[in-house]
C-alpha cells in the first residue's frame, strides 16, 4: 500500500471526526444561547404577573361615624390625616357577605383586601373631602394571596392545607368575580413605592433612588480619579520605576479581586474606622468607586494608547507643553473610548450587590431615601431581599425588578455601543 492509499483509506474517519467537532462547536454555542434565552424568557415570564394588580370593588361608607370625625363643614388636612380608616373596608366586606358571622371567618374575610388599603383610602379622602358622609363605590387593592389566586398562580384543586387561599376565600372571590367586582389594573405602586412587607404594597422606587444616589457618587468619584490616574500612568509615569510598577500591579490585581472583598474593606475602613453611616448611599458609592476605578483606568489607558503619536508630535511641534498636548488634543480624542469604558464600568457597578450587603444596604428600608446619608438600598440588593422573602407574590416582584434592572443595563450598554460606533476612528 502506498501513502496515497493509506491517506485515502483514513479519510472517511477523519472527515467524520471533523464533522463531529464542528457539531460540538455549534452545540456549545447553541447551549449557551439556549441558556441565555431560557433565563430571559423565564424571568420575563415570571415577571408578567407583577405588572398588574387585582382590585376589589367595595361600597365604602365614608360616614362621619365610620371615620370618627365630628360633623362640620370643612376639615383641616391634619384632621383628615388622623381620622380612622381602618374599619372602612372590613365594614364594606361584612355588608357584602352578611352570612359571615364567625369571628375567625370574619378575620379571613377582612384579609381579602390589602392591609395597606386604609392608607390609600386616607389619601383618597384627603384629595376628595366631599366624599365624607357619602357612600362611594371604590376599587380597593386586594391582598397579595387573592392577587396571586386571581392570576391563576394558585391551583384551586390542591388540598386546602397546601394553599395559602382557603376554601371560603375562594368562594368569596368566585362570588365577587361573578358580580364583576374583581378586576386587574396596571400596577402603579411597583414603580412609585418603597419596599414593604406586603407584596401588593411593595415597589422599587426607593431602591431605584438609592441606586441613583450610589451611581451618582460612584461616577463623581471614580471617573475623574480614574482618568487622572490613567493619564499619569500612560503619559507621565517614569519607565522602570518601582513605584509605578507597584501601582500597575495593584490596578491589574484589583480588577480581579472578588467584589465581596471590597465590601469587607468598606465595612472595616469606611464604617468602623471613619464612622461613615451604615446603609447610606455615601458608603455604597465610596465602595463601588473603588471597584469601578480599575475598569475606568484600564479603559482610559487603552483609549489614550490608541491616539497616534503623530498627533502628539504635531502639537509638540507648534510649541505646546506636554500638559497642553494632553488636555487640548489627546484627551478629547480619547474621550469616546474613555466614556465607553466608564459606562461599562458603571453598568457593572449598577448590577453589583455582594459588597453592598457587607455595608448594611441589605436592611429593610420602607422610606424613599432623600439624600446621600439616608438609609437606603439599591436595585440589585432589593432583588436579593425580595428573592429571600417567602410570599409567592414576591417571585413576580423580584422578576419584575430584574426586568427593570436589565432594561437599565441594556440601555447603558447600548449607549456605550453607540458611542463606540459613532466615534470609532481608524488612524
Amino acid at each position: 500500500m502506498n501513502n496515497t492509499d493509506i491517506v485515502r483509506s483514513s479519510l472517511k474517519k477523519r472527515y467524520a471526526k471533523e464533522k463531529r467537532f464542528k457539531a460540538y462547536g455549534i452545540l456549545s454555542i447553541g447551549l449557551s444561547l439556549f441558556f441565555l434565552l431560557f433565563l430571559l424568557f423565564d424571568i420575563t415570564h415570571k415577571a408578567t404577573p407583577a405588572f398588574t394588580q387585582t382590585y376589589i370593588n367595595l361600597d365604602i361608607d365614608f360616614s362621619h361615624k365610620n371615620l370618627r370625625l365630628e360633623e362640620k363643614s370643612s376639615y383641616s388636612e391634619k384632621e383628615l390625616f388622623n381620622a380612622s380608616y381602618r374599619k372602612l373596608t372590613s365594614k364594606a366586606l361584612y355588608q357584602l357577605f352578611p352570612e359571615v358571622k364567625d369571628r375567625r371567618e370574619k378575620k379571613t374575610l377582612r384579609k381579602l383586601v390589602s392591609s395597606g388599603a386604609q392608607y390609600d383610602l386616607r389619601d383618597l379622602v384627603i384629595a376628595n373631602p366631599n366624599y365624607i358622609g357619602t357612600k362611594q363605590s371604590i376599587w380597593i387593592l386586594a391582598d397579595d394571596d387573592v392577587d396571586t389566586f386571581a392570576k391563576d398562580l394558585i391551583d384551586r384543586n390542591l388540598p386546602e392545607v397546601q394553599r395559602r387561599v382557603k376554601d371560603n376565600q375562594i368562594a368569596w372571590i368566585d362570588h365577587l368575580q361573578a358580580q364583576g367586582k374583581i378586576q386587574k389594573e396596571l400596577n402603579t405602586k411597583f414603580l412609585t413605592q418603597g419596599d414593604s412587607r406586603e407584596p401588593e404594597q411593595a415597589g422599587i422606587w426607593g431602591a431605584l433612588k438609592g441606586s441613583l444616589y450610589v451611581m451618582l457618587l460612584t461616577l463623581i468619584l471614580s471617573f475623574p480619579i480614574g482618568v487622572a490616574a490613567a493619564v499619569y500612568l500612560e503619559e507621565f509615569a517614569p519607565k522602570n520605576n518601582w513605584f509605578v510598577d507597584l501601582i500597575e500591579v495593584n490596578i491589574n490585581n484589583l480588577a480581579a479581586v472578588p467584589s465581596i472583598v471590597f465590601g469587607i474593606l468598606g465595612l472595616a475602613v469606611y464604617i468602623n474606622l471613619f464612622g461613615v453611616p451604615r446603609s447610606a448611599p455615601l458608603v455604597g458609592g465610596l465602595v463601588l468607586s473603588l471597584m469601578t476605578l480599575p475598569t475606568i483606568i484600564i479603559a482610559t489607558r487603552a483609549a489614550l494608547k490608541s491616539v497616534p503619536p503623530s498627533i502628539r508630535e504635531a502639537a509638540l511641534g507648534v510649541g505646546a507643553s506636554k500638559m497642553q498636548v494632553i488636555t487640548h488634543h489627546v484627551l478629547p480624542l480619547a474621550m469616546p473610548g474613555i466614556l465607553t469604558g466608564s459606562i461599562i464600568g458603571m453598568a457593572q457597578a449598577l448590577g453589583e450587590s455582594a459588597p453592598l450587603l457587607m455595608i448594611g444596604m441589605v436592611a429593610f428600608v420602607a422610606d424613599i431615601p432623600q439624600g446621600f446619608l439616608d438609609p437606603s438600598t439599591v436595585l440589585p440588593v432589593q432583588i436579593f431581599i425580595w428573592a429571600d422573602s417567602p410570599e409567592r407574590a414576591f417571585i413576580a416582584l423580584t422578576s419584575a425588578a430584574i426586568v427593570v434592572l436589565l432594561i437599565f443595563l441594556f440601555l447603558m450598554n447600548l449607549l456605550a455601543i453607540i458611542l463606540r460606533k459613532k466615534f470609532e476612528t481608524r488612524w
Binding site: 454555542i29 447551549l31 444561547l33 472583598v261 483606568i297
Partner: protein, 474 residues
C-alpha cells in the same frame, strides 16, 4: 452653617482668587508693554487658585473624616462609666449617643442618663470642632492665597508650576490603587490576627466542623462554636469545579468554533450575544439558580432516587436531594463564566500566527486536526491562564452561591446536596445583628483574608502566564 456651606465658601473664594490673579496678570500685559509674561494670564489664576484651594480642602477632608471618632473619644474620656465599658458595649453606647445627638433629644436637660449627658457633651464638642475646623480651613485658604497672590510676578513660571502641581495630583490619584490594596490588607489582617488568637490557625485550616453559632448563654455547652473551615473550602472548590466543568468545554469549544469555523458575519452577531451573559448581574443568576434551576435539579435528583429505589441501586436510593444544591449553583455559575472563558480563549487563539495554520493545512491536516494538534497546544499557556482567572472568579463569586447553594456546612461529594462556601459564610456572618468583636465576625475576616490571598495568587500567576504567552508571539 454646615460642612456644605464651608465647602461652598472655599470653592467660591477659589473662583474669586482665580479671577483676581488673572486680572493682575492681564494688567501687566496691558500697562507695561516692555514686560512679557512667562505664561498666559489664566495660568497665574490657576496657580493662585490651586494654592488657595488644595491645602484648605485637604485640611477640610481630613478633619471631617476624623472628627466623629476623635470627638467620641474625647467624650468617653469625660465619663468614667463609659471608660469602664468593654469594647463591644462601648460601641453600642456610642451608637446610642450619636443617635441621641442626631435626633436633638439630648437637649432635654431632664434626661439625666449617662448617654444623654454624653450626647449633650458630644454635641457641644462637635460644635467646637466645627468652629475650629472652619477657622483653620479659612485661615489656611487665606494663607495660601497670600503666599501666591502677592508673590506672582510677570517672570513667575506659572504654567510650569501649575503643570507640576497637576502631575502631583495625577500621581495622587494613581496612588489610590495602592491605598486600596493596603486598605484591604489592613481591614482583613488585624481582625484575622485577633481571630487566630482565639481559634488556633490549624483548627481553622484543618478542622472539618463548621458551626459558628455561639450559644446565647455563657454556660451553655459548646458555647465557643466550631470554626473548622474545611467544609467551606470544599464547598467553594466543589462548586468551582462544577462551574469549570461546564464553562471550560463550552467556552473553549465555542471560542474555537467562532475563531476557526464561523464566518465573520456569524461571529460578529454571536459573540456580542454571548457576551450579554457576562453583563447580567450575579444577583439575577442567583435568583434564577434558586427559583428555576434549583427545583429542576431537585426534581431530577428525586427522579434518580426513585429509579435507585426501584432498581435497588444503593447509592442512588440513598441520594440526599435538596432544593439548594452545589449542582444548581455550579451549573448557573458555569453559564455565567462561559463568556469569560470564551473571550479570553478567543484572544489567545487569535494570537496564534496564521503561519501555524498554513503549515498544518499544507501538511494535509483537516481543520479540527490543525486546531487540536497545533493551535490548542500553541495557545495552551494562554488558555490555562484564562482558566485560572475563571477559577479565581468562581471562588470569589458570592450572590449565586449565597442564593442557591445554601448555608449548611456539609462535607459531601453529592452535587445534589446543599453545601456552603467561603463567600456565603462571610456574608452570613457579617450581615447578622451581632456585635463587631465576636469570634463570629472575626471569623468572617479570617475567611476574607483567605479569599483575598487565594484569588490574589491565582490572578498573579494567571496574568504572568498570559503575559509570557503574549510575548512569545510579539
Amino acid at each position: 452653617m454646615s460642612d456644605l456651606d464651608l465647602f461652598s465658601i472655599v470653592i467660591v473664594s477659589t473662583l474669586i482668587v482665580f479671577f483676581l490673579a488673572q486680572q493682575k496678570a492681564k494688567k501687566w500685559q496691558m500697562t507695561d508693554s516692555g514686560i512679557t509674561l512667562h505664561s498666559l494670564p489664566g495660568y497665574y489664576g490657576y496657580l493662585s487658585a490651586l494654592w488657595t484651594a488644595i491645602p484648605a480642602l485637604l485640611i477640610f477632608a481630613a478633619w471631617s473624616f476624623l472628627e466623629v471618632n476623635a470627638t467620641s473619644m474625647l467624650v468617653v474620656g469625660q465619663f468614667a462609666e463609659l471608660q469602664a465599658l468593654d469594647k463591644s458595649s462601648l460601641s453600642l453606647a456610642l451608637n446610642e449617643i450619636h443617635l441621641l445627638a442626631g435626633s436633638g433629644g439630648a437637649s432635654s436637660a431632664a434626661d439625666a442618663s449617662i448617654n444623654a449627658q454624653a450626647a449633650v457633651l458630644y454635641l457641644q464638642y462637635m460644635d467646637d470642632s466645627f468652629l475650629l475646623k472652619t477657622s483653620s480651613v479659612l485661615a489656611i485658604a487665606a494663607l495660601g492665597f497670600a503666599f501666591t497672590y502677592w508673590r506672582i510676578t510677570p517672570a513667575t513660571r506659572a504654567r510650569n508650576s501649575v503643570e507640576q502641581l497637576t502631575i502631583y495630583a495625577l500621581l495622587a490619584c494613581a496612588t489610590i490603587a495602592i491605598l486600596t490594596t493596603v486598605g484591604i490588607v489592613f481591614s482583613v489582617i488585624l481582625e484575622s490576627i485577633e481571630f487566630f488568637k482565639q481559634i488556633p490557625i490549624t483548627d481553622f485550616l484543618f478542622g472539618t466542623h463548621w458551626s459558628p453559632q455561639i450559644a446565647i448563654r455563657e454556660d451553655q455547652a459548646g458555647s465557643s462554636g466550631a470554626f473548622g473551615a474545611v467544609p467551606l473550602f470544599w464547598g467553594t472548590i466543589f462548586i468551582s469545579i462544577i462551574a469549570l466543568m461546564i464553562a471550560g468545554p463550552l467556552g473553549l469549544i465555542s471560542a474555537i468554533y467562532l475563531a476557526e469555523y464561523a464566518d465573520k458575519k456569524v461571529r460578529s452577531v454571536i459573540k456580542p450575544i454571548l457576551e450579554v451573559l457576562a453583563g447580567i448581574p450575579t444577583v439575577v443568576y442567583g435568583f434564577f439558580a434558586a427559583i428555576t434551576i434549583g427545583p429542576l435539579v431537585r426534581d431530577f435528583g428525586n427522579y434518580l432516587r426513585d429509579i435507585g429505589v426501584n432498581l435497588d441501586i444503593e447509592i442512588m436510593a440513598n441520594l440526599t436531594v435538596s432544593t439548594e444544591s452545589a449542582l444548581a449553583a455550579g451549573l448557573v455559575m458555569g453559564m455565567m463564566i462561559v463568556p469569560f472563558i470564551l473571550s479570553l480563549s478567543d484572544d489567545v487563539i487569535s494570537a496564534v500566527p496564521d503561519a501555524m495554520r498554513d503549515g498544518s493545512t499544507a501538511m494535509g491536516a483537516t481543520k479540527s486536526e490543525t486546531v487540536w494538534k497545533v493551535i490548542v497546544p500553541a495557545a495552551l499557556p494562554g488558555i490555562v491562564g484564562g482558566f485560572l482567572l475563571a477559577i479565581s472568579r468562581a471562588i470569589g463569586e458570592t450572590m449565586i452561591v449565597l442564593m442557591a447553594a445554601g448555608v449548611a456546612a456539609n462535607l459531601t461529594a453529592n452535587p445534589m446536596d446543599a453545601v456552603t462556601t467561603v463567600t456565603t459564610q462571610i456574608v452570613t456572618l457579617l450581615t447578622g445583628d451581632q456585635e463587631f468583636d465576636s469570634v463570629k465576625t472575626l471569623a468572617a475576616f479570617a475567611l476574607g483574608l483567605g479569599l483575598f490571598i487565594t484569588t490574589l495568587l491565582l490572578n498573579i500567576i494567571a496574568l504572568h502566564v498570559v503575559r509570557k504567552y503574549r510575548e512569545q508571539y510579539e
